[in-house]
């Protein structure tokens, strides 16, 4: 069912618009034969090919650098000596006052130091202390 029959005023306006638009219309063959505006030029395809080739090349170079350029391993003796000689950089924080005494046995001097003079003290019973 065509609803445009129930509005003659609107239909009249659209009929006038149709006449105007049809006067602007090019022919069917003109449309088919006009040069295509949206076609990409040949240079676009060349640039795209170059960019793709560059990206592939960059990926291959990165893969080579990651997988084939491995670091040379150190010999085992060198690894072990490095481990034994290693000292923690924060060792100084563990030093406590008097800690040097624990590092070895203290030496007893050969001569005793002079002792102070002792005074004799007499108790009331006559015995000397």
């Amino acid at each position: 069912m065509n609803r445009s029959d129930d509005d003659p005023e609107i239909r009249q306006h659209f009929n006038a618009a149709r006449e105007r638009r049809e006067s602007l219309a090019p022919s069917f063959h003109e449309i088919l034969e006009r040069p295509r505006r949206n076609e990409r030029p040949a240079s676009f395809h060349r640039v795209r090919l170059l960019v793709t080739a560059f990206v592939v090349f960059a990926v291959l170079i990165s893969a080579y650098l990651v997988w084939y350029e491995k670091p040379v391993p150190r010999p085992l003796e060198a690894e072990l000596s490095a481990l034994t000689e290693w000292h923690s950089p924060t060792d100084f924080l563990l030093k406590t006052p008097g800690g040097e005494l624990l590092e070895g046995t203290p030496a007893i001097p050969s001569a005793l130091p002079p002792l102070p003079n002792l005074q004799t003290i007499q108790n009331p019973s006559g015995n000397v202390k």
């Binding site: 069912m1 609107i10 239909r11 306006h13 659209f14 006038a16 219309a25």
Partner: protein, 165 residues
């Protein structure tokens, strides 16, 4: 349908198709011609196939509408790039718009869906059901847009009449 039949049908509907393409492209004649050319080539090269689920005209108008929307998206992206270039280089872009008639300027004030359904029903003399098929919406939605659009257009035409001396 073979290629000759397709070409014959396209030629028969060409004036209507041009009017619809012009409407879908916001009255830009260059864009409308590009869209129409793209659609015709797609149909003749078999990239767009008519499967007989609706009338040929309904199907063709739906293809024109979709192609115009694709073109609008591409033009939008291109115009952003061009604006940046133009602002850097002081280049002014020429407008390709065809001067629309008074009805066209009134229709432009309506929401897109209402514009489209009124165009299809009044200009292209389709049924609301066919218009819904072209627009890819349900019949109920098309009816709603049709009635609301018609009401608004009548009010606008009344306003134009009262404004005239």
């Amino acid at each position: 349908m073979n290629n000759d039949d397709l070409a014959r049908e396209l030629e028969r509907l060409h004036r209507d198709s041009f009017g619809w393409a012009l409407s879908c492209c916001g009255w830009n004649r260059q864009e409308a011609e590009d869209v129409l050319q793209t659609v015709y080539l797609r149909v003749l090269e078999g990239k767009a196939k008519f499967e007989g689920r609706s009338s040929f005209k309904t199907w063709l108008f739906a293809v024109i509408r979709r192609t115009a929307m694709e073109q609008k998206r591409r033009s939008f992206i291109r115009s952003i790039a061009l604006l940046r270039f133009a602002s850097r280089n002081g280049v002014r872009r020429e407008s390709q718009d065809t001067k629309e008639d008074s009805l066209g300027s009134l229709l432009k004030t309506l929401p897109t869906r209402q514009q489209e359904v009124l165009e299809l029903v009044f200009y292209h003399e389709m049924t609301i059901e066919d218009a819904a098929g072209v627009m890819g919406i349900s019949l109920g939605s098309a009816r709603t847009h049709y009635h609301r659009g018609k009401q608004k257009l009548k009010q606008l035409l009344e306003m134009v009449k009262t404004d005239e001396p």
